[in-house]
């Protein structure tokens, strides 16, 4: 089969490799119909995530048709059309039973790395480094899905792939980020990063009853897309005093909750942001938390800072005093995708939302290396690339 493989920092190839086979009894093999490139794939592309190996198959936003099932698969049948969550959960451990699927205790064969690095390892994920299990990803013609009954959502026949593909990651991720804000009537939610996750978070915040949403980014196309959902917007590059602006617009109170939808590669033009880039370059700190700092600084007293953006390592100049002084609640973590897929599918089927609006580019797998480069440079206002197999 053809697959997109990581070949080093800012190097992606299309390779012909062998087809996946059933390895464990709960596996299924899926013929991929549509896959996407995620903003978090760019963290891999740029070499921000350790434990990638040359030749790893990329991709964690995947859907397709089941073509084979292992002997212990009960629910899935050959021919089922499924969306595959990006995180891999066993469905049986303490955490899965609590619907904390991203904390699954059993899916990661390399859990010892996370155990040692973070104290406890999280779940495995598709195509996202060996620390997350080293499972081959879905930017390929076929994918092996472990614990297939847990890691799948069956899609009714006749639904366009593009409408449901993002149940694999960005829609649940944006939704959980908004849910973590504990939104109440009258609330204003500020969202840093109007990329795909930010866009999903904006719409989810409104669905969950937010009064106002303020989206912060520096790409006009993304800000326009945010406005279309009813958000107010701030282009931080055209705004000399972002924090004052947010405070002014929220009547001096600050947003009730702030979402950092940017993560570890935040852009920004403040001095600490520049310093972060220097430190990351010389490996003194791994992450560039500029958006997170602003979230904490901007947030209302007693408010919530919700972090769906990916972080991997250590933060520098983290304004803990502000977080403590204002009594903030910090909520974060990888998305428990399996928990959200079904209820969010229902929102799609009842026409409450159609997540396909984020798609800006449709490509063939052969164009993958170009697409990564373009997405990374945000050339042509690229917001979301979908690979049609």
């Amino acid at each position: 089969m053809k697959a997109l493989t990581w070949e080093g920092k800012q190097k992606v190839a299309v390779k012909r490799v062998s087809d996946p086979t059933i390895i464990n009894p709960q596996d299924a093999i899926v013929k991929v119909t549509t896959s996407a490139i995620c903003g978090s794939d760019l963290h891999l592309y740029d070499g921000y995530i350790p434990t990638m190996e040359k030749g790893d198959i990329l991709g964690h936003e995947t859907m397709g048709e089941v073509v084979a099932t292992g002997s212990s698969v009960k629910k899935l049948k050959v021919g089922d059309k499924i969306v595959i969550p990006f995180d891999i959960a066993c469905g049986q451990c303490h955490f899965c039973k609590e619907e904390e699927y991203a904390a699954c205790d059993n899916s990661n064969p390399n859990a010892i790395i996370g155990d040692k690095l973070y104290g406890h390892s999280g779940a495995a994920a598709f195509g996202y480094s060996h620390m997350f299990g080293g499972y081959a990803g879905g930017q390929a013609e076929f994918i092996r899905v472990p614990y297939a009954d847990t890691n799948s959502l069956i899609i009714p026949k006749g639904i366009d792939d593009e409408k449901v593909l993002f149940l694999s990651d960005i829609f649940p991720t944006g939704y959980m980020a908004a849910e973590n804000c504990g939104i109440r009537r009258g609330d204003t939610i500020a969202i840093w990063g109007a990329g795909p996750v930010g866009q999903m978070a904006i719409r989810s915040a409104f669905l969950l009853g937010a009064d106002r949403v303020i989206a912060i980014d520096h790409f006009e196309g993304r800000l326009k897309m945010a406005e279309q959902a009813g958000a107010e917007t701030i282009n931080f590059e055209k705004c000399d005093h972002l924090l004052e602006e947010i405070k002014f617009r929220t009547g001096g109170m600050g947003p009730d909750a702030c979402i950092d939808g940017v993560g570890l590669e935040a852009h920004g033009n403040t001095f600490p942001a520049v310093l972060d880039r220097v430190k990351a370059a010389v490996s003194l700190a791994t992450d560039r938390p500029n958006a997170l700092r602003q979230c904490i600084q901007a947030c209302k007293k007693g408010g919530t800072v919700s972090v769906p953006g990916v972080y991997g390592g250590f933060l520098d100049k983290f304004p803990f005093g502000a977080a403590f002084g204002k009594g903030l609640t910090l909520k974060m973590g990888q998305t428990h995708t399996q928990k959200y897929m079904k209820p969010l599918l229902d929102l799609i089927l009842s026409d409450k939302i159609d997540p396909s609006f984020v798609i800006s580019h449709r490509i063939k797998i052969e164009d993958g290396p170009n697409a990564y480069e373009m997405f990374n440079n945000k050339k042509d206002e690229c917001i979301k690339v979908v690979i049609k197999m």
């Binding site: 697959a3 493989t5 070949e7 086979t21 790893d56 212990s72 495995a124 052969e366 290396p369």
Partner: protein, 188 residues
């Protein structure tokens, strides 16, 4: 006065029982299965090759003596006999290799109920020595694991096997590292 049983403190006591600082490899996990089931599974040592890394087989010669074979990554096999040295049915098993074995190994495993029905706490210590030295390096080199990680890795695998019926793996999946992988486009 009626004697009350406190599973939490019993479990803590059990853990303390074999927490020696000089023990090379120890770990504990909480497994979402009943204590008796886990104990019975483990006590039939022949089951251990279902999940233990690099363990090819265990044969029970008698109820207390078993024959162990590990396969190293270079295909070499190392074997020894071990015997049960201590046992409290349902609660703990201790074992040790017979004197004069090529591999000197000992270990103990403890089973205690976690509080409030949250499964069973299983703690394991493993000691692994090769008299004469060099073979330790061979084993470390070919299993790819340092002896300190043995209990950690194997307990995690035991937990996965007993909770899900399989041990997670990516061995045998496709990758761009395959010998026959062919590059179609590598524009960088």
């Amino acid at each position: 006065m009626q004697k009350s049983i406190n599973p939490t403190t019993d479990f803590a006591k059990n853990l303390r029982g074999h927490y020696h600082e000089d023990n090379p490899s120890r770990f504990a996990v909480t497994i979402n299965q009943p204590q008796q089931l886990i104990y019975s599974f483990f006590r039939n040592f022949e089951n251990l090759s279902l999940f233990m890394k690099d363990l090819k087989s265990v044969i029970m010669k008698t109820d207390r003596v078993s024959h162990w074979i590990i396969r190293l990554k270079n295909g070499m096999e190392v074997a020894w006999d071990a015997q049960v040295t201590a046992e409290r049915p349902g609660e703990m098993i201790g074992w040790q290799s017979l004197e004069g074995s090529e591999v000197e190994t000992s270990g103990s495993i403890w089973f205690s109920p976690a509080p409030a029905g949250r499964g069973t706490v299983v703690s394991l210590t493993m000691d692994f020595k090769i008299p004469g030295g060099p073979l330790t390096e061979v084993i470390t080199m070919f299993t790819g694991e340092d002896p300190e990680s043995l209990a950690h890795i194997n307990l995690r695998r035991l937990k996965a096997f007993l909770e899900t019926g399989e041990v997670p793996t990516t061995e045998g999946q496709p990758s761009g590292r395959e010998k026959n992988a062919e590059t179609i486009t590598d524009k960088h």
